[in-house]
Symmetry: C2
Subunit: 397 residues, 2 copies
Amino acid sequence: MSKADRWLLPDGVEELLPEQASQVEILRRKLLDLFSSWGYELVIPPLIEFTDSLLVGLGSDVDIQTFKVVDQMSGRTMGIRADITAQTARIDAHSLKREGPVRLCYAGSVLHTRPKSLMASRTPIQVGAELYGDAGLDSDIEVICLMLETLHCSGVKNITLDLGHVGIYRALIKEAGLSEEAQQKLFDALQRKSTVDIEEAITSGINDPEMADMMRTLSQLNGDNSVLARAKTALAKAPGEVIAAIEVLEKVAEKIFLRMPSVRIYFDLSELRGYHYHTGLVFSALAPGHGQAVANGGRYDHIGEVFGRARPATGFNTDLKALLSYLEKGTAKDASTILAPTSDDLNDAEELALWQLVQRLREEGEQVIYGLSGQACTLEYSRNLVLSDGQWTVKNR
Amino acid sequence: MSKADRWLLPDGVEELLPEQASQVEILRRKLLDLFSSWGYELVIPPLIEFTDSLLVGLGSDVDIQTFKVVDQMSGRTMGIRADITAQTARIDAHSLKREGPVRLCYAGSVLHTRPKSLMASRTPIQVGAELYGDAGLDSDIEVICLMLETLHCSGVKNITLDLGHVGIYRALIKEAGLSEEAQQKLFDALQRKSTVDIEEAITSGINDPEMADMMRTLSQLNGDNSVLARAKTALAKAPGEVIAAIEVLEKVAEKIFLRMPSVRIYFDLSELRGYHYHTGLVFSALAPGHGQAVANGGRYDHIGEVFGRARPATGFNTDLKALLSYLEKGTAKDASTILAPTSDDLNDAEELALWQLVQRLREEGEQVIYGLSGQACTLEYSRNLVLSDGQWTVKNR
């Protein structure tokens, strides 16, 4: 390997240099403070766990996304987390074991074996919030509002909230009595939103013509809130859970609209993202100019079961690195740095007095940088420390 | 695997629950703000890199500590970082490519295949600062002072600064003309500070009796600053670099003492920690009750060479998790949470007014938590929001 190639980072793996890093740090603090003001407590789960606890209940997508290594101390397989949600669920179910609602939040690096989409990072900084122990709509609404507020704080504008409910498809598919294979075919076709394949999967897999019609309609039930009225009519003969789920969507949308009237709400009743672990309402936020959702979440009520406590759960997360592109540019850097001279020509008393002043200025929030002997100063600074009449003072440059 | 075992974390891998997590977060911000006030710019290197760039110049210790995985996209080997120092050196040498001194800092998770010591974490949160582009003593002094200030900010008391210089041993060993094997034997014996093995290695490996005597003395040159005077006499006939290195230690100790007279300085002239990549002054900080150094660093001038630019470098780092134990306990949690009622019995106007007040309070820095329908409130709160005469107000409980 030549010297010139050494610095190459793997595809989808990026470093953040000072300007971007400080933007990310500012945003990170802002969001964690936001979560705290909503009552969400910070947890810091480890970067690595046994796959036995890390991958439970998350479906095969996360499994494939997770790098595995062998623990030299136990011989067991560990995974480097590709997602923090399951870790938080474990903390709620096992480590905290509290009664009643528990609100948790986190911010940390995760690793993906492959990028989730063409432009996605393989080393996102995942930030998110999860609400455990409450199955009611209040919780779904709270988490959705917090997701929207998170994006608002990050400078994301013209947000579209995408709402779905996996219970609708789940109830229909159960009623339709499809074979495992036919189910998979239909599921794939719906995921890809391929009209031809959906039709083919329905025709070949569902015998009952009424059922086939409902499934056909479902695939087209997306758009503004006229969709819900259409759905109620078209799916009137579906199992009770279907209508109940539509009414959940109705109520939630109403409350979100009351609180955040500027957010556009888009319904997608055949939305199947995270179908394998979500159990109810699913939601994501889209912003102009980005094909992928900028944040997403949903209800996942049974994930804690394997840890010995099934707790209702809903939450959302986003990627700090992806949010970077929405931050306002050109907030002019405050070049108010103070330069302290090198100690080359100072006696001990002068040097000590300088050091004490420098320390005091730093404590007061100033940035003070010492010059280094024999180095030309390449630093941008607006003030420096000058000795006159035995006193150190800050002078404008 | 039984349900009860699922939650077990691997040995040396720990999670931080709310109380500890918020302490770590507060300390993290405090230290990054401290680094910034000293002029150190934050960088965020990725969690993973090709081993070709991640492991250069760090010696075999770091290699063994690094988890390796295969990049599915390129087939090349990647390492999950066990140390952030080399990444920062790459950023300085290649990504920034600035002239003159560059000050960088970082805070991030690293992974170790095995704990560095019995009680150490395998998932430390490494924080540190590095100064590139200056070979002068000013830089060593600055970095040592920043390390001490970091520990001071973290509540570590009665710090002992351990100072050494790998140039002393390096010059002596070169002069002594030991075989590769004899060198390794002596190095191991010195590392373990085993008097018997040191004597055996010297007797069998060094023919010149004067040289053997100097090496014997070196292994005992540790203690307070009387050590330096002793060293100058005992090593008077050693190569010039040895005396130069002793004088470096003298000057640095003098400046540190001037600035921070309460810090105890301990010299250890046969200190060989990080010998394979350090090139000059090495230092660590010890605190009562902890066998291991709580922070350490040193000069490593050639690490950037493989990235195409050899830049002088010195820096230090510590582990946020290890610092946790020094933080003052019992800073009573401010239970001033405000509880907002559920919207169950509210009309739209009341609910909207409540939401707007809640949002305003949160923006003002209050923590406001909504009650959830049908849930007994298990929350600790001191105030709640009450509707009287059509107006929402904050009332003490």
